[in-house]
Symmetry: C2
Subunit: 411 residues, 2 copies
C-alpha cells in the first residue's frame, strides 16, 4: 500500500510538475513495456489532470536487441516515416512528452557499433525537427525513470532481481523527493527555487570562461559564448508553462563556446552510450574539438560516439552539480545518465540547448552556430566532478572568481 | 525446455505457414505487451526466414480500458493519422501482418457501449483501405493466440492464474497442432488439404441456398450469391503466396446473399464483442436484415453491434464446422472468436470477404454490393452449430442435398 501510494505520487509529480500538463493538452508517454504499471498510472493521472488524450509509445529493448543482432544490414539506415509523423503530429498539436528512461545498461553490448551508429544517425536525421522543438521548449517534456529488473540487477548485482528492484525503487523515490509523508510537488517547488538561485549567481557574473582543475589531471578551460544563460530546475515553455524536464535534477547548466574548449578532462564516472559502458576515459580538446581520447573500457564506443557527425566531437553543455548532491552522496552508480549526471559536474558532447543563449529559441541552427552554440544529432553527458574539483570563473576583465572549491559551490 | 521448444515451433509455424513470410518481406506484429515473449520469438523466426525487417505494434488492453473510462468523450470519434499511415505504409510495401489475439473477454465490461461503438467506427473509417487490402488477400496475414493471465483465468476460473495459463497453453498447442514430437508445418499441410476437399464439395454443388434447422428453434434459409466461392484452410495472396489466415482454423466458408437471409437463428455459444459477453441470443432475419434480437445477457451490446452501420445488421459470412472438430470436442469455451468459431458452424454480421466471389478481389465495395456481398465496418462471427444441426443444400433446380446431418458433414 505504502509503495502503491508513492508510485502514484511519482506519476502525479511527473504529470503535474514534470510536463505540467494543461487542460485539454495531449500527453505522449514513451515507455518500455516492462514499465507498463507506472505508464498506466501516469495515464490515469493525466486524464485526472484534464488531458485531451494520452498516446502510448511502447518500446522493448529486448526486441531492439534482436533486431540489432538479426536484421539485415540495410535497415539500420532506414527510419519509418510513420514514426516521424507520430512525433511531429503530436508536437505540432502542442502535446507534452513524458519519457520513462529505464534501460539495461549493457543490453546492446554485443551489437556491432556500426549498426548502433547508423541507427542513431537515421533517427537523428528523421527526428531533427521534433528534437529541436523539445530543445527549444516549444513543447513541455519530462524524463523520469522506474526500475526494470535487468537495470536493477546491474545497479545492485549482489542481490536477487526482486530485491534489486526494491532497492532501486527506494533510490529513485529518494532522489525524486517522493516519500509517504510529504507532498512531492511542494518539495520540488523549494528545490527548483534553490537551483534558480544558483543559476542567478552564475548569470550575474556572466563569466567569460570556466577553468577546471583536479588531482586526476583535469586542466580544462571552457569559454562561454556572449549572451549565454545558466538555467536549472524548472524551465518555461514557449507558451509560458513552467515544467521540469528531468526528474531528478540537481544541475545548473549552460552552453559552452563551440570552439572555446582547450585542455584535458578526465571522466569521473562511467558513460553508458547506446547500452555500452565506457569507463575511465580522458579527452583532450583543442579549439573546441576532441582531438584525442582514451578509455580503459569501451574506447571503440567512445570513438563511435565522437564520429556520429562533426558536432559530436564538440561540447554542447557545461553543467555544475555539487559533489555532495543527494545522488552523489548515495554512492550508487545508476548506469543511467538521468541519475548519474546529477551526481556530478558534467559536460556533454553534441548539440547545445538553444535556450542557453539569449533569443536562442528563435534562432535556426546555422544562426546558433554563428553565436558559438554547437549542433549535432547527439547530446551525451559525461561526468567530470570530483571531491577535489576546483572551478574558477574568469571575468571579462580577467579577474578570477572561485565558483567551485573542493567539489562544491562557493556561493 | 519442452515448453520453450513448442513455443518456438508455434512462432515458426506462424511465420512460415501462417503469414508465409517471403525473403526480404516486411513483417508487422500486432502484440499485447503481455505477449512480448512470443512476439520476440516470432521476430527471431521472421529474421531467420529472411525478413526485411520486423515492426512491432504493441497494445495494452489495460491502458485501453483506462482510456475508455477516463478520457473525454470527444476522443472516441478521433483516429490518429499516424496510425493510419503505419498500417497503410506497411501494407503498400507488401508487408505481412501477424496479429496475436489475446484479450481478457470482459476487460471492457464497464465501458459505455457508445464509446466502444464510436471508437470502432472511427477506426473502421480510418482503416477501411487497409482492412480491404487484407480481406482481398493483397497482403498475407495471420491471427494466432497466446495466453494472457486474465484471459486464462476467464477460461479456467477454478484454478490459479499460473495453472490457468498452463492449461490454456496446452489447449492452444493442441488446437494449432503443435507438439513436441511432430513437425507442425507437416501437420498443417495435411489439415489444409482436408479443408480444401470440403470446400471443393461445396463448390462442386454450387448451392442456391442452405437451410438450417435444429431443436433449439433455428429455422433459417441463407441464399448464396451467384458466383460464390467456398474457401477454407490455406488461402492465396494476390502475389500467389499460400498462407493460413487463422490458426487454428477448422472452417469452410463463403459469403451469403446480402438480402437473401430469412428466418430465425439461435446462437449456441456466447459472443464476445469488444470485451463484452453476449449470451443465449436469437436473431430474426427478414430479407437479409436482422429485424429483431433478444439476449439473456448483453442484449445492449448486441444491439450496439447491429447499429454500427447499415451493413452490421446483415450477414457477411456463412461457415461450416463439424460439431466434432477438435475444439468442439475439448468442450472448452475460449471466450475468443479465433477458437470458438472453429468449434461450430457460424455466421458473421458485417462485411463479406471479397475473395468469396469470383473476381471479387478486384471489385470495389459498390460492385461487391451489386453482386450481393454485404459491406460494413464490422465483421463479427457468432456460433450456430449444435449436435443436432441439419443443413440442407438447395440446388438451382430446387432439389435438396444433405450437407450436414447431426452437426457433421455428410460428404
Amino acid at each position: 500500500m505504502a509503495f502503491q501510494e508513492r508510485l502514484r505520487k511519482l506519476a502525479r509529480l511527473a504529470v503535474r510538475m514534470g510536463v505540467n500538463l494543461q487542460e485539454d493538452q495531449m500527453l505522449v508517454i514513451n515507455a518500455p513495456i516492462e514499465c507498463a504499471e507506472f505508464a498506466r498510472l501516469a495515464a490515469e493521472e493525466a486524464y485526472a489532470a484534464g488531458a485531451h488524450d494520452v498516446a502510448l509509445n511502447w518500446n522493448d529493448e529486448k526486441m531492439a536487441r534482436i533486431r540489432y543482432e538479426k536484421a539485415r544490414d540495410a535497415v539500420f539506415s532506414e527510419f519509418p516515416s510513420w514514426r516521424q509523423k507520430f512525433y511531429m503530429d503530436y508536437a505540432e498539436q502542442g502535446a507534452a512528452f513524458l519519457s520513462i528512461a529505464a534501460q539495461d545498461p549493457e543490453i546492446f553490448r554485443s551489437v556491432a557499433p556500426d549498426r548502433l551508429l547508423r541507427s542513431r544517425q537515421a533517427a537523428g536525421a528523421a527526428l531533427m525537427e521534433y528534437r529541436e522543438r523539445l530543445m527549444k521548449n516549444r513543447n513541455t517534456w519530462c524524463v523520469v525513470s522506474v526500475p526494470t529488473r535487468a537495470w536493477a540487477k546491474k545497479v545492485f548485482p549482489d542481490v536477487s532481481a526482486d530485491e534489486a528492484t526494491d532497492k532501486l525503487w527506494e533510490e529513485i523515490f529518494r532522489t525524486v523527493r517522493v516519500s509517504e509523508e510529504s507532498d512531492p510537488v511542494e518539495e520540488w517547488r523549494a528545490h527548483t527555487a534553490f537551483l534558480a538561485k544558483a543559476a542567478a549567481f552564475m548569470n550575474d557574473h556572466a563569466f567569460r570562461a570556466l577553468h577546471y582543475q583536479n588531482g586526476l589531471g583535469t586542466d580544462l578551460t571552457v569559454r562561454l559564448p556572449e549572451g549565454h544563460i545558466w538555467a536549472g530546475g524548472a524551465e518555461q515553455s514557449e507558451l509560458g508553462t513552467i515544467f521540469v524536464a528531468n526528474m531528478p535534477t540537481e544541475e545548473v547548466y549552460t552552453a559552452p563556446l563551440r570552439d572555446g574548449v582547450d585542455g584535458t578532462v578526465y571522466a569521473t564516472r562511467p558513460l553508458v552510450y547506446e547500452g555500452n559502458l565506457i569507463e575511465n576515459f580522458r579527452i583532450i580538446f583543442e579549439r573546441g574539438k576532441a582531438i584525442s581520447c582514451a578509455a580503459e573500457r569501451g574506447e571503440e564506443h567512445l570513438k563511435s560516439l565522437l564520429a556520429v557527425d562533426d558536432g559530436a566531437s564538440y561540447l554542447g553543455e557545461v553543467a555544475l552539480v555539487p559533489y555532495d548532491s543527494p545522488i552523489s552522496k548515495s554512492g550508487v552508480l545508476f548506469y543511467n545518465t538521468l541519475f548519474d549526471e546529477n551526481a556530478s559536474c558534467h559536460l556533454a558532447f553534441g548539440k547545445a540547448y538553444p535556450t542557453c543563449l539569449k533569443g536562442g529559441e528563435k534562432m535556426a541552427s546555422v544562426e546558433l552556430l554563428q553565436h558559438g552554440l554547437n549542433d549535432s544529432l547527439v547530446h551525451e553527458d559525461f561526468m567530470v566532478g570530483s571531491e577535489d574539483l576546483s572551478i574558477m570563473g574568469i571575468q571579462k576583465d580577467g579577474a578570477e572568481v572561485p565558483v567551485f572549491v573542493d567539489g562544491k559551490f562557493v556561493f
